[in-house]
Amino acid sequence: MRDRGSTWLAELQDVSFRYGTRQILDGVTLRFQRGRVTAIMGPSGTGKTTLLRLIGGQIHADRGRVQVAGRDVARLSRAQLFELRKRMGMLFQSGALFTGLSVYDNVAFPLREHTALPEAMIRDLVLMKLQAVGLRGARHLMPNQLSGGMARRVALARAIALDPMMIMYDEPFTGLDPITLGVIMKLIRKLNDTLGLTSIVVSHDVQEVTAIADYVYLLSGGRVVGEGRPAELLGSSSGWVRQFMHGLPDGPVPFHYPAPDYGADLLDGARESA
């Protein structure tokens, strides 16, 4: 598969998507530059994971276009899509390790499925990837014997097993202790730079993202409300951006899920029980 060598490895143009009647994404445009770490940030439930699924071709946009490596993801046949996916790694929010397979077999899985390499070679590759995430010694463990942070590192090793051109990380930082957090951050940066990957990091952790991302998109209510280099965003004067980047409780982003007036709701309850 050839790509056209443009600066942008992946692009979403004016993409809208809804689940049932709920509009999740409403005309967003994002571009991901080759060899860079691009972050997508936003409050919970704004459709960040949905966005990654769109890029991976697991769901299709209602409107707009999703392009990866110059190809319209929605237009690909199943076989072509699978070809493309071999070159994309994805780290799921939950890790999504195969619970029936050991750490070693999990990392070996994509290699065994997609290559005809002899077992000795697969072993070398698996150990290499596990070494990269610091878990070569844990290769005999089963996923249920791993801590959350370890599981994520194994998932990372598995995601880079086929040497993809791009990795998508869904919430790689949540629920980690400071040491593991630092390790994962370094890993993302290191893998990006040494393997020449393009990385997309979905997160709502401002500090971590500003530390490793080259470019940041800020998503809210299904729209892109801010974008730029981390430093630019931190200094932004926009209400949305300021509120999110500095973690302010009050501002344009509502903290509450849409609901009828609080006082009226309480009174309703009183009336019902009366």
Binding site: Q58, F82, L84, F98, T99, E113, H114
Partner: protein
Amino acid sequence: MMSSLQRLGRMTLRFFARLGRGNLFMLRVLAGMPSVLPRFRLLVAQVYHVGFLSLPIIVVASLNVGMVLGLQMYNTLVDFDAESALGPVVALSLVRELGPVVAALLFAGRAGSALTAEIGLMKATEQLSGMEMMAVDPVRRIVAPRLLAGIFALPLLAILFSAVGIGGGYFVGVGLLGVDEGAFWSQMQDKVDWREDVLNGIIKSAVFGVVVTWIAVFEGYEAEPTAEGVSQATTRSVVFSSLAVLGLDFVLTAFMFGEP
């Protein structure tokens, strides 16, 4: 009145929609079969799970059923001075009906439910999704070998059920109640026909194998990806496949043993 009619209509439509989806799913699995067959290892692992691990329950249940049959039939036959017919009676009930049916019901409870729960949990924990993102089709990699293993294992289990059950009947009839050993076996051989009885029973169990495993993997694959959804799917899997076995048994029996 209107609303219950409406509900009946909706349930009917939903049933057929589900049946249709089940058939489409089966087609997808069948399309994936050719890529599974050469991967012998995958198949062996699944035969272990659905077949070998079902051995204890099958052996215990069949021994019990055979012994009870032997005892009860003896009590009836002895009144007609026909206890020498114990062999054929026990063998025919097992080979034609009880072997295929009870083995299939146990299989649905033991292996079918495990398949549904396993696939449903894989779905709930994003393992299937993750596999798709790794450009591996879960229908081929996960579902197809399980279906194949189930279709292969159930007939073997049913055959074993019949054989062990007959052994149980022999133990009670000949060993404990004193039926003549020669009469037990020779009458059995005389009355039980290889093709009419044994082979038809095996064909039955093969059909059950397809249906039970199909329902199990389909329910797992269609499960709501939550803990609740998976538990409901597991229940549905056992209930539906048991009902399907009982219903199909009636139809197949009418076909096979109705009139020569």
